[in-house]
């Protein structure tokens, strides 16, 4: 295996596809030279124009990895050892167990846990399998820990949730871009090129982040708020806009409702008051508001830093209120957007692996939506279960008297990524049956009773929906190793076996293109309507933006929707909703015992739980570290590289310290790619999105690795 760093001699050869990692879904070509598979630039694809970060360049490194699983594994209950078995044996075993457990304890005793990295086809098939074969309500996915606060806020304010309502490239055409809690330069590096072009054209960049990240290095104005206070900052910005008569009153009157109450609600948030809560100097609060007021083409983009809080939904709503006050949404080169995180965080939440949704971003509680989807699936509407538990609540219920006794996991490494992870690991251990589909023995797979080896990126075809709402196509470039099957095959295999027992026969195609066509029909008429999109169109047009409804035979195809909200919002009356929100602060604040804020995030060379990237030798794997300010380091006798113990009310982590002056003096940072820090973070949930408070809790730090 090798990675080509060769320049992109314009080459029509190879297979066009997209990077296996983040929501940017950079286009690339995969070229086979002998036995090696090379990553080559695909400069015609507009989102990244050939640019790739280190993760994308080395993405083929997981291929042929010695840890790759090529046979189903079943744990011998007597010895605790895994034993390689045939696919039939594994699937029969799982189907039998599931059927037995459901006969004993009811349908909801089987839970399903999906992921934001699964293709649209897989996410769809998983949701369909849960609702029609298992007929369980207990399905959710790890996207709850990613974009769900922004999704909830988007739905509440605009009646629609799509990460960006405009193509990412439009950043370059703005006058001002405000990034709230986004470290774009490290988490989706090629996207940062747009920031450079924005600035080269005279535009201004504002970054709100408690750390001075490489993204902040590019900023014209950087605000470093206390973690968990972005909401108060937004209230202060809106206060100043109202105080200085900078509100676009005509827009507010014509296109929104509820602004009057919001206007009153921020009277208590004058900049000096905001300074006390956020630690951001009052002058900077005003500077940000004045900058926004002076430029009609302004974009406010939120990311996990603003969203992963027990007040995440309200925080996003507060920034949306700022955008609405200025009349930004729907204006060219302006608006609010969410920079989604996972590769298919967007599509993954649109097609039914979320506890409360059916394909097409339909509500599972809407009778018309149930009837439509039931028709496509060939089942009775009443047979589709209702709304189930959200991700963390689902995990917390595992093995409890009224909770699931079995869990199927696809595309998620819960043991590393869940909040209060030690507790979640205990819950997983209490299950009667844990089935994990993965390509390597991840930390979660290692706990399973049955492990099903599945295909990975480049070995399979499927669509993803990137942060722009652009549906793109990842194409198979190589043959998967002997012994692995695609998730679609696994689902079909289980459906067939369980369907026989249940006396029903449902169609679960395994050809991704067929699944996509069915997904399109199921989504038709929904908010995220994919029915007019085909694989051929995606190839020809370099992606198609939803909604893209099907048109009658012979009619002009729908062009897709790169821009949303120009005329109306997706609410019944077409107006955006302003919501009154107030700052309550983080669920846990520092005190004498735990005097520091702990926040988490990513590093450039790793992705999510690291199940893929940690296994690629070209990517530096530093292991976890604790970023701490020199003054705090001096206070505690910590030197750069010292082993330190970081503790919270939920657990401890030992790791080397990284002494940096780029972090707030009252805050420490730990990247979450390694098992560890998520044992420490708080499991307080946002009341609407059920997002855990990953981004802030109270922590204590001391030098040394012993108690």
């Amino acid at each position: 295996m090798s990675v080509s760093l060769a320049a992109a001699a314009p080459s029509p050869t190879g297979t066009t596809t997209h990077c296996p990692y983040c929501s940017l879904q950079c286009g690339m070509r995969l070229e086979r030279v002998g036995r090696t598979l090379n990553v080559v630039e695909w400069s015609e694809f507009g989102v990244n124009e050939g640019a790739l970060c280190r993760k994308g360049r080395t993405a083929t490194g997981l291929r042929g990895h010695r840890e790759r699983l090529t046979s189903p594994l079943v744990r011998d209950r007597a010895t605790g050892e895994f034993r390689a078995v045939s696919w039939d044996e594994a699937l029969d075993l799982v189907a039998r167990h599931l059927t037995e457990l459901q006969a004993e304890s009811g349908r909801d005793t089987v839970g399903v846990f999906g992921g934001g990295g699964l293709t649209n086809e897989k996410a769809y098939a998983l949701g369909k399998f849960a609702r029609t074969v298992l007929r369980t309500s207990q399905i959710d996915y790890n996207g709850r820990w990613c974009m769900s606060s922004a999704a909830a806020a988007g739905n509440k304010a605009f009646g629609l949730d799509r990460g960006l309502p405009f193509p990412l490239k439009d950043i370059e055409t703005a006058d001002v871009v405000v990034l709230v809690g986004s470290n774009m330069a490290e988490t989706m590096p090629p996207a940062a090129r747009h920031l450079d072009r924005l600035r080269a054209a005279g535009g201004k960049l504002v970054v709100v982040d408690p750390r001075r990240t490489p993204t902040v290095e590019r900023a014209d104005l950087a605000l470093q708020p206390v973690p968990g206070t972005d909401l108060a900052l937004a209230l202060g910005v809106l206060h100043h806009l109202i105080a200085t008569d900078a509100v676009d009153e005509a827009y507010v009157a014509a296109r929104t409702t509820g602004f009057g109450d919001v206007r009153r609600s921020v009277t208590a948030w004058w900049p000096e008051q905001v300074e006390r809560v956020t630690g951001v100097p009052a002058a900077d609060v005003r500077a940000l508001a004045d900058l926004l007021a002076a430029h009609p083409r302004a974009m406010i983009l939120t990311a996990r830093g603003a969203e992963q809080h027990a007040q995440g939904t309200d925080t996003v709503l507060a920034w949306i209120n700022v955008a609405l006050a200025l009349g930004l949404p729907g204006r060219p080169g302006a608006g609010w957007g969410c920079l989604t995180g996972q590769g298919n965080g967007q599509g993954g939440r649109e097609h039914g692996q979320k506890a409360d949704q059916l394909p097409g971003y339909r509500s599972i509680e809407d009778p018309a939506a149930r009837a439509h989807v039931a028709h496509v699936w060939g089942v009775e509407p009443d047979s589709i279960p209702g709304k189930g538990r959200s991700a963390y609540e689902l995990l917390e219920a595992l093995g409890q008297p009224d909770g699931p006794r079995a869990l199927l996991v696809f595309g998620s490494n819960i043991v590393v990524s869940a909040p209060r992870a030690a507790h979640v690991t205990e819950r997983l251990a209490s299950l009667d049956l844990l089935v994990v589909a993965d390509m390597v023995l991840s930390e979660t797979a290692a706990m399973a009773d049955v492990v099903l080896p599945v295909t990975q990126w480049a070995e399979e075809t499927g669509t993803m929906t990137n942060l722009e709402g652009r549906v793109i196509l990842r194409q198979r470039a190589i043959t998967p190793p002997e012994g692995v099957r695609s998730d679609l095959d696994v689902i079909a295999g289980l459906a067939e076996r369980m369907g026989q027992r249940l006396g029903q026969r449902l169609d679960f195609p395994t050809d991704p293109e067929k699944v996509f066509a069915e997904l399109g029909r199921a989504s038709a008429g929904g908010l995220a309507d994919y029915s007019g999109i085909t694989y051929d169109r995606i190839r020809d047009e370099h992606g198609v933006f939803w909604p893209c409804p099907a048109t009658p035979e012979g009619a002009v195809p729908h062009p897709g929707t790169p821009y949303l909200f120009a005329e109306r919002f997706a609410t019944p009356d077409g107006r955006a909703r302003c919501h009154v929100v107030d700052h309550r602060g983080p669920a846990e604040v520092p005190d004498a015992d735990y005097p520091l804020h702990l926040t988490t995030g990513r590093v450039l060379a790793q992705y999510q739980s690291g199940a893929q990237t940690r296994r690629i030798k070209e990517l530096p794997d530093s292991g976890p570290f604790v970023e701490v300010h020199p003054l705090v380091a001096a206070r505690l006798g910590i030197e750069d590289g010292s082993l330190v113990t970081l503790s919270t009310r939920r657990g401890e982590l030992r790791a080397p310290a990284k002494v940096v002056s780029t972090i707030r003096e009252d805050t420490v940072f730990v990247p979450f790619h390694w098992a560890g820090v998520n044992r420490l973070v708080n499991d307080a949930l946002d009341p609407t999105s059920r997002m855990p408070e990953f981004k802030v809790c109270a922590a204590a730090l001391k030098v040394g690795g012993h108690r």
Partner: protein
């Protein structure tokens, strides 16, 4: 316990503390049992921002905290333009009189006094006529009505004197100066903001003001208003079109005193924010005086303690077990080009033997900064003229963070300029492609860098550094 039908929480005063209290009560479903009696004709508004309205940097209509419709919507009985003239503790009623002189009585089960401050009228002859009316040139500055009256006369004014050099006086002076009015400040004590600042702090502030074109007369009192102007006790006469009185205020506690409740500077309350004599009567905000665990008795005068008390009292009235233990206050001047923050009571705290003071005075830059530290914890601070790190200092103060010995000093020092970076050959320059300085130095042009290393082709953030390396502007450091 009184049944819900009979329960009636009567709030005297409709200012910022009262508004916050009612928000808390409404959030707990108690709105329909609340009556608010406000003397002013405006629904509760943000008094802090009146000087910004005067300055013209804040729209007057954007001051309202909660409008009458909100109170009505939540079942709260809001009565404006109503003065409370007496408390009948035996009957549990308050006696009121409205603008037309109509008297009335309102029964309560719990009474909350949120009566605020009464502006002090300095003893200046000619300011008040025999009927008790202010001289036409003289204005108070406490209420929305005061602010409107003053705004109405500004177009004809060329000169103004502000009597009182405290927080409010400075804000008003800056506001008037911002309107193009030649403004002077008269302060009776030896320096400005004498309640909060030491002499050097006050002097730094006066220098800043003079630099901004405002004359400051400290240690001098205005004694008489004549047709020539305002006569000071040092013999000066300041000719002026306007005199604005901002000489502070005293807690409005006459009602409590007349009802035989214990009062000192304010209404004395316990940790339930109730009068020490009558558990059915509470007091919050500027009119309350709380005695803390150390026996220190304090009235506040700032909005943040008032809001903390209001939020806490809402919980107490809703039956939650809560105790007030005092507040940390941050006084922050809100005026253009004048930077002051005072945390806690720096002058009081300094007198304490257990405290250490770290201070930096820079008369050249017009700044004075002081941290009062006790056992590593910032217990008070003064920042004048330079507010860098104010956010962090406030966080440390509010959280009671225990700092290391070097930290207070570091918090007052400006950031050191960083030396030009010397890049080691092994230092990673392009993190997207994983390319080191050495690999870039081995190239002769940007094209070659792109061609052979792919550096700069990812996020593009390293382009500047790469070009610099190529131009050999950064001195190489040999490996090893």
């Amino acid at each position: 316990m009184t049944s819900a039908e009979q329960r009636r929480i009567v709030v005297v005063g409709a200012g910022m503390a009262a508004a916050r209290l009612v928000e808390g009560l409404v959030a707990r479903g108690l709105g329909p049992q609340v009556t608010v009696l406000g003397k002013e004709h405006h629904a509760p508004y943000n008094r802090i921002l009146l000087s910004a309205v005067l300055e013209g940097t804040h729209a007057a209509r954007a001051l309202t905290l909660r409008d009458p419709a909100w109170f009505a919507e939540h079942g709260v009985d809001l009565r404006l333009g109503v003065r409370v003239v007496g408390i009948d503790r035996d009957a549990r009623e308050v006696e009121t009189v409205d603008d037309l002189g109509v008297e009335s009585r309102v029964a309560y089960t719990e009474l909350v006094l949120a009566t605020g401050l009464i502006p002090k009228l300095p003893p200046i002859r000619g300011v008040v006529d025999r009927k008790g009316h202010l001289h036409p040139k003289v204005h108070a500055f406490r209420t929305m009505a005061d602010c409107r009256d003053l705004l109405a006369v500004l177009p004809d004014a060329k000169r103004a004197v502000v009597v009182g050099g405290g927080l409010l006086g400075l804000q008003v002076a800056r506001a008037l100066a911002g309107r193009g009015i030649a403004t002077e400040i008269v302060e009776g004590s030896e320096h400005l903001m004498s309640r909060q600042l030491s002499a050097p702090g006050g002097r730094a502030l006066a220098r800043d003001l003079r630099r901004l074109g405002t004359s400051v007369y400290t240690g001098s009192r205005a004694v008489r208003l004549t047709d020539e102007g305002l006569v000071l006790d040092n013999g000066f006469t300041l000719s002026t079109n306007l005199v604005v009185l901002t000489a502070g205020g005293r807690p409005a506690m006459a009602l409590a005193r007349d009802a035989c409740l214990t009062v000192r500077r304010g209404v004395v309350v316990d940790s339930r924010l109730a009068s020490v004599d009558d558990p059915a009567i509470h007091a919050i905000g500027d009119c309350a005086e709380f005695v803390d665990a150390d026996g220190v008795s304090r009235t506040t005068g700032f909005v943040s303690p008032a809001w903390e008390q209001a939020a806490l009292l809402a919980e107490i009235l809703a039956g939650e077990a809560r105790a007030y233990r005092g507040s940390r206050s941050v006084a922050r001047l809100r005026a253009t080009d004048l930077d002051v923050a005072v945390l806690g009571e720096p002058e009081e705290a300094v007198a304490d033997e257990r405290t250490e003071v770290v201070e930096i005075s820079n008369p050249l830059a017009g700044s004075y900064r002081k941290l009062v530290v006790r056992h590593g914890v910032i217990v008070a601070a003064t920042l004048v003229g330079d507010l860098s790190h104010v956010g962090l200092i406030t966080q440390h103060y509010d959280r009671g963070t225990r700092l290391g010995p070097d930290e207070p000093g570091a918090l007052l020092l400006p950031p050191r300029p960083t030396a030009p970076t010397q890049l080691h050959d092994s230092t990673e320059i392009c993190s997207c492609a994983g390319v080191s300085a050495g690999e870039i130095r081995a190239c002769s042009s940007l094209e070659q860098v792109v061609e052979s290393t792919r550096a700069t082709t990812g996020c593009g953030g390293c382009k500047e550094a790469v070009c610099q390396l190529l131009e050999q502007k950064i001195a190489p450091v040999p490996s090893g």
